[in-house]
Amino acid sequence: MNLEKMQNAEKLKLCRRYYFGGFLALPFLWAVNAVWFVREAFFKPHFEEQAEMRKYVIRSTIGAVVWVAGIIAWNVIFQLNRASWGEVADRISYVIPTGIP
């Protein structure tokens, strides 16, 4: 899809769709939304839909960052506690390493 060829209203529609789509536990949509529309929302000359688009881009960015932080935090917690959680950790593991607790 080429953003250059789209109408502003179309862009807004797309941006909104990505924003709401992200609520379905799809942080990648938010991340893509933030990256894709950041130029439109902040660095392009003013157009009518820009204010709303900014709102979506900012919120998508925050959402994506929160998700990434959450995933990193979980990963750290999980890796640190995997051995001591015993069976629970084994059950939620996809690959259990060999030769270590």
């Binding site: 084994d90 059950r91 593991s93 996809y94 690959v95 259990i96 060999t98 030769g99 607790p101």
Partner: protein, 757 residues
């Protein structure tokens, strides 16, 4: 360099015709640090039209080649004419030249050794005496060491000190040429006590933990078998391998200056923590790679009955005499060396007894009011797996065969049917006779039966005196300890020791026939000489076996009249000689060959069996299999005329064994016998109810490993500056070749303006 080749392919269009010319530039490889060698065959086929340009390209490649040569030769080691860089960098030791310690797990612990995934690396240090060891422990400050340890220093305390010194990455044990067999045992000094008779509650408090530590059964045992090491431990068997290691150390590490002789040891194990954890992980099906982590240890017990176990009679109370012995052994490196020659004399004697009693006629056997059952336990060295499982099976009515109402089965046997138990323990070092052991706190009635039985044996055994165990000690470590936990039955264990093992190498790798024979043979000894050397032991064993056989006959209700066969019961000394020779010296012997299944493809090895239980397969192991056939043949009925010698699947009371015999008859020999193989597997591992049973039963598993797990190799370690230089040179070569190819590719139109492109 493969990209150069591709480019040439493209440029010259690869039209093959009559006048094809083949240029071959030497194969070469670049290898930084020896990792990831790239074989680079460089063949150029080209049309004549392309020929001119080929020269240019080849010239550039030759220049490049020279640059590479120059750069890599800076490090001095990394260039070769073919892909032999590996062999310039590493010297591998063949896997069969060394024994390895692996990971074993039980209900609560992991024991044994393992390396990291990629292997442990360290600078070789040779420790051959205590002073050198102490100095190393104080002053060895480099980051990683691999210790080459002289065998006399290989003991628990020293190994634990090496373990505590965290820069030790591995240990290779070797024997010096003049090494003496030292008195040492890797097993616990209070061996096999964990789930023993006196391990529960207040029963026999004065005998708990080896008579409260007052009398240790195995005083020379330091218990290294039960330790866990975070690094690999190998035992270098080959003397040339040992010399290579020692020389490498001498040549490069004395005095310590770069390049240093270093060693990489790999023995990564999959299992960890304990049997509960690794079994759970093996059973988890959500695993992406679905690897196994560990497998249960176990084997098969072999049970045979002197009288045929017909289905129409039910077992009566006190109608069976059990005669048992343990088949297996273990050691620090069980998977590769499992000695226990002294232990083996127990089941060898049992086979002798079975042979003597088996020679009774059919009517004489049926006249006995009590049946005699011989049982060979497997897995006894691991918390008495075999006898523990037998008790479990007996309780469930699954002994000697699993209940199945649709089949004709022998009557189930349990402990109430058993009147006496005789167990044959270590008998290899009979000097002043044998000792009869029993549980001193059995009930009075049981003790009286025990004393009676021992009396009978004492009267029958003139040449090998039988003595009662000393007072103040409990029952020796034995399968009987397991059995007596379920019912107080008269039970006697016969051994060559009284209150501590006569065997001074119990379950160490010196616990071999050689040691029993006081080292009086070497590789030049002939078979005849071995047979001669075996005579005194065979004589002792046949004497005691004869006495035991006669005692069993009498206790089973055999008559003691002038016409009774009692006086004819003898255990042939030659038979004992053969059994000792086959089990402990060379399995490729007549006796074993005669008892192999007919037309069996397997050739018998000439190296005595490793009697390590190993991973449970549901099949009898090699040593148990041959013991089963021998036992069946000794006690069973030899069919003279048989059309087919096949066991019937719906009749489990008897089995037909078709064996080679002495090969004079093509059909071999057919033996009909009530012989059974029962599981010697910890039942919690089968029922998957581990957690609730680990306090009561030994649940042993062995970690998985793969074909490529073990590796031992030597290499020279350069100082850090050289290492950096080599890396830098490598990077430079890589960048130069990128640049060259880029330029050639860009200018291809000019350089190769042939009209073909």
């Amino acid at each position: 360099m493969t990209y150069c080749k591709l480019m040439l392919k493209h440029t010259c269009n690869w039209k093959v015709s009559e006048n094809v010319k083949l240029y071959r530039i030497v194969d070469y490889t670049i290898d930084y640090y020896g990792y990831g060698a790239l074989p680079l065959p460089f063949e150029i086929n080209c049309l004549n039209s392309c020929h001119r340009f080929m020269h240019i390209i080849m010239m550039s490649d030759l220049v490049l080649l020279m640059v590479i040569t120059y750069l890599t030769s800076l490090s001095g080691k990394c260039f070769s004419q073919s892909s032999k860089v590996y062999s310039l960098v590493y010297q591998d030791f063949a896997e069969d030249t060394y024994d390895k310690c692996v990971r074993l797990l039980n209900g609560t612990h992991e024991i044994g050794c393992q390396s990291s995934t990629e292997g442990n690396t360290g600078i070789l240090v040779h420790l051959n005496e205590t002073a050198v060891l102490n100095k190393f422990l104080e002053s060895g400050t480099r980051k990683h060491y691999v210790v080459l340890l002289e065998s006399s220093l290989f003991e628990r305390n020293i190994m634990l000190r090496l373990k505590a010194k965290e820069n030790v990455q591995g240990v290779i044990v070797y024997e010096a040429d003049n090494f003496y067999q030292r008195a040492w045992s890797p097993d616990l000094s209070c061996t096999s006590d964990r789930f023993g008779l006196y391990s529960n509650g207040s029963y026999g408090r004065e005998y708990q933990e080896c008579n409260n530590g007052a009398k240790l059964w195995n005083p020379l045992g330091d218990g290294i078998t039960e330790e866990s090491f975070p690094f690999p431990v190998f035992y270098m068997r080959s003397s040339s391998g040992r010399d290579r290691l020692i020389n490498c150390y001498k040549d490069y590490n004395v005095p310590e200056a770069y390049p240093l002789c270093s060693v990489q040891m790999k023995s990564h194990m999959f299992g960890a923590v304990d049997s509960v954890t690794c079994t759970r992980r093996s059973n988890l099906q959500n695993s992406f790679t679905s690897v196994g982590y560990c497998d249960p240890l176990g084997g098969m017990n072999v049970v045979t009955s002197l009288q045929k176990m017909t289905s129409d009679v039910s077992s009566k109370k006190d109608s069976i005499i059990l005669v048992s012995a343990a088949l297996d052994s273990r050691s620090f490196m069980s998977s590769f060396t499992a000695p226990g020659a002294d232990m083996a004399t127990g089941f060898i004697t049992l086979l002798g007894v079975a042979n003597a009693l088996g020679q009774l006629t059919k009517t004489q056997k049926l006249e006995l009011s009590k049946n005699i059952m011989f049982i060979l336990f497997d897995g006894e060295a691991f918390d008495h797996m075999g006898s523990t499982r037998m008790m479990y099976d007996m309780k469930n009515g699954d002994f000697p065969v699993n209940r199945d109402s649709e089949k004709t089965q022998p009557p189930p046997v349990n402990l109430t049917h058993v009147s006496h138990i005789f167990e044959l323990g270590q008998l290899g070092y009979i000097r002043d006779g044998v000792w009869a052991h029993y549980n001193p706190i059995s009930s009075k009635a049981v003790l009286n039966s025990v004393y009676d039985a021992i009396n009978v044996l004492q009267n029958l055994s003139a040449s090998v005196p039988v003595q009662n165990q000393s007072t103040g000690i409990g029952l020796v470590p034995s399968s009987l300890q397991t059995i007596l936990q379920h019912r107080d039955v008269p039970g006697v264990v016969l051994t060559d020791y009284d209150d501590q093992f006569t065997n001074r190498q119990y379950f160490s790798r010196f616990d071999t026939l050689k040691n029993i024979l006081s080292l009086r043979y070497n590789q030049n000894t002939t078979d005849e000489q071995i047979m001669d050397l075996l005579q005194p032991i065979a004589q002792n064993l046949s004497n005691i076996a004869t006495a035991i056989a006669k005692m069993l006959y009498l206790i089973a209700g055999g008559s003691h009249t002038s016409t009774s066969p009692l006086d004819n019961i003898t255990v042939d000394q030659n038979m004992m000689n053969d059994l000792l020779y086959c089990f402990l010296y060379n399995p490729n012997c007549d006796l074993f060959n005669e008892h192999l299944p007919l037309n069996s493809k397997a050739n018998l090895s000439s190296i005595s069996y490793r009697r390590y239980t190993s991973v449970y397969t549901g099949e009898v192991s090699d040593y148990a299999g041959i013991s089963m056939n021998i036992l069946a043949s000794f006690t069973g009925e030899k069919l003279q005329n048989f059309t087919e010698c096949l066991s019937k699947s719906d009749d489990q009371t008897v089995r037909y064994f078709n064996m080679n015999g002495n090969r004079s008859v093509a059909e071999g020999v057919c033996i009909l016998s009530s012989t059974f193989a029962t599981k010697a597997l910890a039942f919690p591992l089968e029922t998957k109810k581990l957690q609730e049973n680990i306090a009561m039963y030994g649940v042993w598993t062995e970690s998985r490993w793969t074909k490529t797990t073990f590796r031992l190799r030597l290499f020279l370690l350069q100082d850090e500056l050289s290492q950096g230089m080599v890396l830098l040179a490598g990077l430079l070569v890589m960048l130069t070749s990128f640049a060259t190819v880029y330029v050639l590719n860009e200018k291809a139109a000019i350089l190769f303006n042939t009209g073909i492109v």
